[in-house]
């Protein structure tokens, strides 16, 4: 397959701070997930490939053309930025129609496209309300709406699921998959692995400004599964539960957090461990108050993988 987006030795510094370092990538059609903890360089990468900022070294090409100051290219690109900023005095409808005007559509097309986009992101009912009065989720959906309203072939979404409720997330994920089905190219960033996992198998892992790994998501899944995982359980009979855990070889350590009155269990097989829990609770009549995973985030996984 031919790469649509190509970057060569892409590097970006903000003063003394490294944003991105020596990134050479080829992104093909379909959905590509950009995964990395906060501050890893995901947004810098997306800003570079959309020509928002200039690379210090290297270059970005879309369809073989340079992106920086190539405004004609944006007829075919939709970008949803990460920042929650709008022209607050406008209504959702005015925001979309004014941005669509900049694509030089006819007034009829502008209205039709704005209607469709608002319908997709389910804001038709609230289209005449000023953006200032929108909830966080509505604002996020409007941001996605402006990225798709002009029917682009390349859609670049920076943390599009931030601030959405579970239903909203599911709808956006479904939409992204639909767009893939229509032959469009989607680049989507997130710091939450399951979000990316729900959209695509093809991922690029970015950490500390560098591409840490790229390829199939199962690769990172395998890496994560070997990462010892800590689970905190607050329950009525923590000592009894600890005793039961000892018999399982995938439970590596058990200790008590006296301050939080909880049991901390370290396991090297999350899936097996979590499927064991319900039967243990029911068989031993243990009342559970809370189960949390203190290190269930990408930062912990990355720290583990790079041997911190």
């Amino acid at each position: 397959m031919t790469a649509v987006i190509q970057t060569q030795n892409l590097s970006k510094w903000y003063g003394n701070v490294l944003g991105l370092s020596d990134v050479t990538l080829q992104i093909e059609p379909g959905i590509t997930g950009i995964l990395g903890p906060n501050g890893a360089g995901k947004s810098t990468f997306l800003k570079l490939i959309t020509g928002q900022i200039k690379p210090n070294i290297g270059r970005v090409m879309i369809h073989g053309q340079n992106v920086w100051n190539n405004y004609a290219m944006f007829a075919q690109i939709g970008f949803c930025p990460e920042q929650d900023s709008f022209y607050e005095e406008l209504t959702g409808w005015q925001f979309l129609t004014n941005l669509l005007k900049l694509h030089h559509f006819s007034p009829e097309d502008i209205n039709a496209k704005a209607e469709i986009a608002l319908d997709i992101v389910e804001l038709t009912k609230d289209k005449d309300r000023v953006i200032r009065s929108y909830s966080r989720g509505m604002r996020q959906r409007l941001k996605v709406g402006q990225a798709i309203a002009h029917d682009p072939n390349i859609i670049i979404l920076d943390e599009p699921l931030n601030g959405l409720d579970p239903l909203g997330r599911r709808k956006i994920i479904r939409l992204i998959k639909e767009y893939k089905g229509e032959g469009r190219m989607i680049v989507v960033s997130s710091h939450v692995l399951p979000e990316i996992e729900a959209m695509t198998n093809r991922i690029i892992l970015i950490h500390q400004g560098k591409v840490f790994a790229q390829g199939d998501i199962h690769y990172i899944r395998d890496l994560i599964e070997t990462h010892p995982h800590i689970v905190s359980i607050k329950c009525s009979q923590s000592r009894l539960l600890a005793e039961k855990f000892i018999g399982y070889d995938y439970v590596l350590k058990v200790h008590f957090d006296l301050q939080k009155k909880s049991l901390l269990v370290e396991t090297n097989n999350r899936d097996k461990f979590f499927s064991l829990l319900p039967s243990l609770f029911i068989d031993n009549n243990i009342e559970v108050e809370e189960i949390t995973s203190p290190d269930d985030n990408l930062q912990a996984v990355f720290d583990y993988l790079i041997g911190k």
Partner: protein, 270 residues
């Protein structure tokens, strides 16, 4: 001009027009405009007070047009158009950065120059409307008894045109300042109330380095009277030269703003 150049130019004009429509309608809604609209109407309230005091014979011997001329020179020329141009001109680019909305514009198929020109025209149009309304109402109130005098309307037209030229020129200058400086308001205040107010009285050609020199050259020179011996006074340029210079300054600074905005990298801080 080749056919391709013509097509590019008409595309540029269309883009600038679309940006103009967007920001003219947006600017009417923002709080800043409501505040400045109120400020630009202060002379009208003042005119009412003056008129009432005239009616109640407190200052009947002062002509309305005399007060109006002073209002133009003191309030509009030395204060209002500077303030309006400063806040709207600098915001052409800086509000997009501060509000982090620049991304929405730069990911559209419009050139960055069209964004600058379109926004500049929208904001200049708006401040000209605001100023003109204030001037016209003040004029009508102050000259209530002489509204049949057609010669007075010539004065009104001339003053409105001069203020319009001033707004066009200052807004272009501050648009440029906004694209180049982060703290453009601070610089703009020093320029407006320092440089423009002081240098205009410097003798010789030094005063020609101010915009206000060319604006005041388009208005009748106030009589120096018994102060004619003073070294520091306005030495007006010719009308043609002044109008040419005002358009030249506007063109140069708008051009520079477009070049800078196109090639400068703006990083929105998280």
């Amino acid at each position: 001009m080749t056919q391709s150049d013509t097509r590019k130019f008409s595309f540029f004009l269309q883009s600038a027009k679309d940006v103009f429509v967007f920001f003219f309608s947006l600017a009417k809604k923002v709080r800043k405009t409501k505040i400045f609209f109120f400020i630009s109407f202060l002379p009208v309230f003042m005119a009412f007070v003056v008129k009432f005091s005239q009616i109640f014979s407190l200052a009947r011997n002062i002509e309305g047009i005399y007060i109006f001329n002073n209002m133009i020179m003191m309030f509009y020329m030395q204060f209002l158009i500077l303030i309006l141009a400063l806040f709207y001109g600098t915001s052409v680019s800086s509000e997009e950065l501060e509000g982090k909305t620049l991304t929405y514009l730069t990911t559209r198929p419009v050139s960055k120059s069209a964004i600058i020109i379109g926004k500049y025209l929208a904001y200049t149009g708006l401040v000209i409307i605001m100023t003109t309304l204030g001037v016209v109402f003040s004029f009508l109130v102050l000259n209530l008894n002489e509204l049949y005098e057609l010669s007075l309307y010539k004065i009104l037209l001339r003053d409105v045109a001069v203020l319009g030229l001033g707004l066009m020129c200052y807004t272009a200058f501050f648009t440029f300042v906004g694209t180049i400086l982060k703290r453009s308001i601070m610089f703009g205040l020093v320029f407006s109330f320092g440089w423009e107010n002081v240098i205009q009285y410097f003798p010789g050609s030094t005063q020609k380095f101010t915009i206000v020199h060319y604006l005041k050259s388009l208005l009748p020179s106030p009589s120096t009277g018994r102060f004619s011996f003073l070294l520091f006074r306005l030495e007006p340029s010719s009308t043609g030269n002044s109008v040419f210079m005002l358009f030249l300054i506007t063109g140069v600074f708008l051009g520079l703003a477009c070049i800078l905005f196109t090639f400068k990298e703006y990083i929105m801080e998280d």
